[in-house]
């Protein structure tokens, strides 16, 4: 009798755990790996916050090869994980092919639009956040020359640059913006030495505030700017703490919120294009104790006013990727 009980209990426990596993969300990191101090790590932070707050669990995988993209998607879908979240535009092609095979599973992709009925495409209005930090850069600059250092030269980063220039010109129409891209290959995301050299070059041309939208390369930009005594602007996460009093602000892109929201919604996640902009706090600028002395109340008020206007739709920031062109230089 006791043996029978034990069996039944085990069977019940098994079916319970199977039931729980079915609702588990899954998160797939791109080849950069989970702890890249930037994009993937932000996604992990969001997932961890969700797990800590709800006590839920999630599956995760760091990819090792290109062929694993499709494999991970299919295996998680077949395992019943829902929703399945992936970071990065490189998943776009694969997801477009896989999603129709699993109509009952929901997918969420960050930084890319995939047109399928069961996919949430999370895109960020980086140009809006860049516009705000551009305004701030212009106000903080004394030489009326500011800089921009991008990572890999792709339309997405030009979108950052274009929004930034628009913000600068909105405050000081005559200001000069020096723009540099680190490279044309994925290696440009992780080249702090070159970031440092570009920073020195821009400083010699008169720049006194430099915005780095370059992933790991930005670490070199922020470091050199701090060493040379000029201001810099961080990107993606709040990087103000890295050089207290030397970083004007950071353009925050809340990838963690995007992942958190998707996990929170669970299997009932709304699909379609999900835009995270200034209006819904998907992008913005970071204020904390590390940059409080650098940003005056006036500056903050001006930027907040612009943010409110962007949120309400009164002010339109041009999106480079809408027509692959930028109205200002």
């Amino acid at each position: 009798m006791t043996l029978m009980h034990k069996f039944l209990a085990t069977a019940a426990a098994l079916s319970l755990s199977a039931g729980a596993a079915a609702a588990e969300p899954a998160l797939i990191f791109d080849l950069g790996g989970k702890f890249d101090k930037s994009f993937n790590e932000a996604a992990f932070t969001g997932a961890k916050r969700w797990a800590d707050e709800t006590g839920g669990t999630f599956r995760e995988i760091e990819l090792q090869s290109e062929a694993q993209r499709e494999q991970a998607l299919r295996r998680f879908a077949e395992n019943g994980n829902d929703p399945i979240i992936m970071t990065g535009f490189a998943f776009g092609n694969v997801l477009g092919e896989v999603a129709p095979d699993y109509p009952d599973t929901k997918f969420a992709i960050i930084d890319m639009v995939v047109d399928a009925p069961n996919v949430r495409s999370v895109v960020f209005n980086e140009h809006e956040g860049s516009y705000l930090v551009g305004m701030m850069a212009a106000m903080a600059s004394e030489s009326d020359t500011v800089g921009f250092i991008g990572g890999m030269d792709i339309p997405l980063i030009r979108k950052f640059a274009c929004g930034y220039v628009q913000g600068v010109k909105a405050v000081k129409p005559d200001a000069t913006v020096i723009q540099n891209m680190t490279g044309t290959t994925p290696a440009a995301w992780n080249d702090p030495v070159k970031g440092s050299e570009l920073t020195k070059s821009q400083i010699s041309q008169g720049a006194d505030v430099i915005y780095a939208a370059a992933g790991g390369t930005g670490v070199g930009v922020l470091q050199t700017a701090a060493d040379e005594g000029i201001l810099s602007i961080g990107v993606d996460s709040n990087q103000n703490y890295m050089h207290p009093g030397k970083i004007l602000t950071s353009m925050t892109k809340r990838v963690d919120n995007a992942v958190y929201d998707a996990m929170e919604a669970g299997a009932d996640i709304e699909t379609g294009i999900y835009v995270m902009g200034v209006g819904n706090e998907g992008v913005g600028y970071a204020m904390d104790e590390f940059n409080a002395d650098l940003v005056s109340a006036d500056m903050q008020a001006t930027v907040d006013e612009a943010a409110a206007k962007i949120g309400s739709g009164e002010l339109m920031v041009h999106d480079y990727m809408s027509d692959n062109a930028c109205p200002v230089e």
């Binding site: 599956r59 760091e62 090792q64 290109e66 062929a67 494999q71 095979d101 044309t184 994925p186």
Partner: protein
């Protein structure tokens, strides 16, 4: 005769090496608090017990067969070709150009065309190091590994500046036309009632790899060229004395080797991604060295070793999916197998040889 019997050399030595590697891997897994038995079961289940798992195992194996054969052929001429990586990269460029710019009516013709393109480009990439070695004596290890970097930079340039579609973010070519789509195992073996190999990337190129194994065997052991290659490998003065031109033989062996390495791109580029991406090779060129070492430079051995490494890759993916073993440690496990079967070969062979010899002595 003071040698081990052939079966011990071909089977027993790799087997014992594998067991040692497995034992150390088990210690690693215990060290991070997971069960090695469960992990091994997961690898076997994921890689060998499902048809889709086999689909991935054979996909990786196809890559390793080509690069393993490439290393093996060069090795018969005592050339250590570690440029398989670069030759395969440039081979991929050949595949992409053939697929993108020639309107193929049917995949079978496209496969032939891209195989020719891949092997020509791969061979061309091996030509310069081969010539430098044969004529100038520049060491092939140094030149081929440097050519890997040149290949990566060249591919970078071509993908970013020439072949990337306007407005695309990825440094990759456009998708190949549908007519060049190679039948996957799913297309070939699935029926409506019984879907097999679902989503797995293994494709018709696998059979090309098997054919390549047979052809390499014929070449090395049944043709005059193969005899010349082996003779040169055993002793250059003897080969010269027999009227074999070392320059010609070295260059030809390296061209064949580069062509074989290039062929693996048919699998990754046309078979899987259906466009040329920046990192389509992903180290298969270097795995080929381990495969050739383990397979004793014999096509059958290369084939079996490639399947083993395919199993390790696919099993490793399963571990990453369903356990908390971090991906760095999965690489450690794969590396242990390479270390024991390749680099530490003599550690097993020499004691084993001594045991066999002492048995024989006792008998006599």
């Amino acid at each position: 005769m003071d040698r081990m019997p052939g079966w011990a050399d071909a089977i027993l030595v790799p087997l014992i090496s594998l067991l040692l590697a497995a034992f150390l891997s088990a210690l690693v897994i215990i060290g991070i608090g997971e069960s090695p038995v469960a992990a091994f079961k997961l690898m076997v289940d994921g890689a060998l017990m499902r048809s889709a798992g086999w689909g991935y195992t054979l996909y990786y194996a196809t890559n390793f067969i080509f690069t393993g054969l490439a290393v093996a052929v060069a090795f018969h001429a005592r050339m250590f070709n570690i440029g398989g990586e670069g030759q395969a990269m440039i081979g991929g460029l050949g595949v992409a150009l053939v697929c993108l710019y020639i309107p193929w009516p049917h995949w079978s013709l496209a496969l032939l065309g891209s195989a020719v393109g891949a092997s020509l480009f791969g061979a061309a990439w091996a030509l310069i190091p081969a010539y430098l070695q044969a004529k100038r004596g520049s060491h092939i290890v140094i030149t081929t590994i440097m050519f890997n970097f040149i290949a990566a930079a060249l591919l970078n340039y071509v993908l970013v500046n020439v072949l990337r579609p306007v407005g695309a973010m990825d440094p990759a070519t456009a998708k190949f036309p549908d007519a060049t789509h190679l039948p996957t195992f799913q297309d070939m073996f699935s029926t409506a009632a019984d879907p097999m190999f679902r989503g797995a990337p293994a494709n018709v190129t696998f059979f090309l790899a098997v054919i390549a194994c047979v052809l390499v065997w014929l070449l090395i052991w049944r043709t005059r060229l193969g005899y010349e290659i082996r003779a040169l490998g055993h002793s250059e003065p003897a080969a010269r004395y027999a009227g074999i031109s070392p320059v010609r033989t070295v260059v030809i062996a390296m061209l064949i080797s580069g062509g074989l390495a290039g062929l693996m791109s048919v699998n990754t580029t046309q078979g899987e991604a259906e466009r040329l991406i920046l990192n389509s090779i992903e180290g298969a060129g270097f795995i080929g060295i381990a495969v050739a070492l383990m397979g004793r430079n014999h096509p059958l051995g290369v084939f079996l070793a490639a399947i083993l490494f395919g199993f390790l890759y696919q099993g490793g993916a399963e571990l990453a999916l369903w356990t908390t073993i971090p991906r760095e440690l999965i690489v450690v496990i794969q590396a242990l197998v390479i270390l024991f079967t390749g680099a530490l070969d003599n550690m097993v062979r020499m004691p084993l040889e001594r045991i066999f010899l002492s048995f024989r002595r006792r008998k006599s």
